[in-house]
Assembly symmetry: C2
Homo-oligomer: 236 residues x 2
């Protein structure tokens, strides 16, 4: 009975359950609206129901799942309105963070430039590795937000941006949009390097609104019937 695999970080069953279920939601393996049954997950993960319950509570707090009293927990599903809300906030928060980063002399401009360059290289290939690209892009944005010096800002952005659909922007870009986005990265580095908060902020705002636009096009294309709602879309 004591032949349990060692977990990478700690030996807490709750973390195992949390990470595991979370990964399945983010990867799309668990689709929106699906029930998360305590017993099923417990036996499936080889732990008892208690840590699973705790993990589900954290997922609900994260906004990745929804709790229905005496019924259970199901995976949250996101409407176009949700995604527009998220992008609206993201533009506001990330552009502000970028301005602060530009004012911060400790911002690691060299690292940002490296990230931007590697992304450019990948994007110019015939079949870009979008997974790697997304990964590097996340690093780029995280680094900027961290450099703002406001830890809550970082926390809030991460909690908002984790919704699956908003991370994978690149896969929906055409060649011109991809090039534009890469240009934004380099321009942001220059603005931060110059210590110009308004420049940096403006580029970030443009960068994100471009992504928002691509996402909206995607939503409209794959919309079943109703019309995409939400005020303040980028370019209507």
């Amino acid at each position: 009975m004591s032949t349990r695999e060692e977990t990478p970080t700690g030996n807490l069953s709750t973390d195992v359950a949390y990470q595991s279920i979370r990964a399945k939601i983010l990867s799309g393996e668990l689709g929106g609206g699906e029930w998360l049954r305590e017993s099923d997950l417990a036996s499936q993960l080889g732990v008892s129901r208690t840590p699973v319950r705790e993990a589900l509570g954290r997922l609900v707090a994260d906004g990745l799942a929804r709790h229905e009293p005496n019924r259970g927990v199901r995976v949250e599903e996101w409407t176009p309105k949700d995604l527009n809300e998220i992008y609206d906030l993201r533009v506001l928060l990330e552009s502000h963070g970028t301005a602060l980063a530009a004012l911060n002399p400790a911002t690691d401009v060299i690292w940002l430039e490296q990230l931007a360059s590697e992304m450019s290289l990948i994007s110019e290939q015939r079949h870009p590795d979008f997974g790697r690209l997304t990964e590097l892009n996340n690093s780029f944005h995280s680094t900027l937000i961290e450099s703002s010096g406001n830890e809550r800002l970082k926390a809030v952005v991460e909690s908002i941006v984790q919704v699956p659909l908003v991370r994978q922007t690149f896969a929906r870009y055409n060649q011109a949009e991809l090039a534009l986005s890469m240009g934004h990265h380099h321009e942001m580095v220059r603005a931060v390097e110059a210590g110009d908060p308004q420049w940096a902020e403006a580029v970030m705002r443009a960068h994100l609104r471009a992504g928002w636009s691509a996402m909206q096009r995607f939503l409209i294309a794959s919309r079943p019937k109703g019309r995409a709602e939400g005020r303040g879309g980028p370019a209507t």
Copy 2:
């Protein structure tokens, strides 16, 4: 609709525990750094440890408490840097929300005006009821944020602003500042009524930065030794 429920899970014991402990933290009855022992709380509330544990998990997720592995949960304590981070975000988010509210024709201007008027009345008395004033002020701000139409914006602001020290601004105002603040309320209503987002946003920004300034004065006055840190304070 994907409205995230803030407090009510629909459970019984868990909610009782959550509300009860949360109230004690917000009222200051449970001070920063204090341990939240599961057994103590359980017997004290007349429930078992399980719902208490669940409640503690939610408090940690809310940012009101901190979890130390195998040690327990203790009440979060806030530094001047934390409070400055909070105000920085609050200015950003609430002013944005106010701009959106001004663009929203459904915003209930009459209700806002009633709130502003009642606050004015209270503030002009010789011994203002600061508790009631704070309550009305919270309604005013909540109504504006709700009127933005962005539910996530509302959720984020509420989660950030719940830290005890940021709510009770009025008690630290002198007479002139109080009058100024009341004036802001009325001016915001006029700006929203006029459908002028930039006007409304600007007033909200001024309103909050005035509060920030008062809070900083308070922090400096009651600071034990180290100097208050945090970038971008209102009046340095």
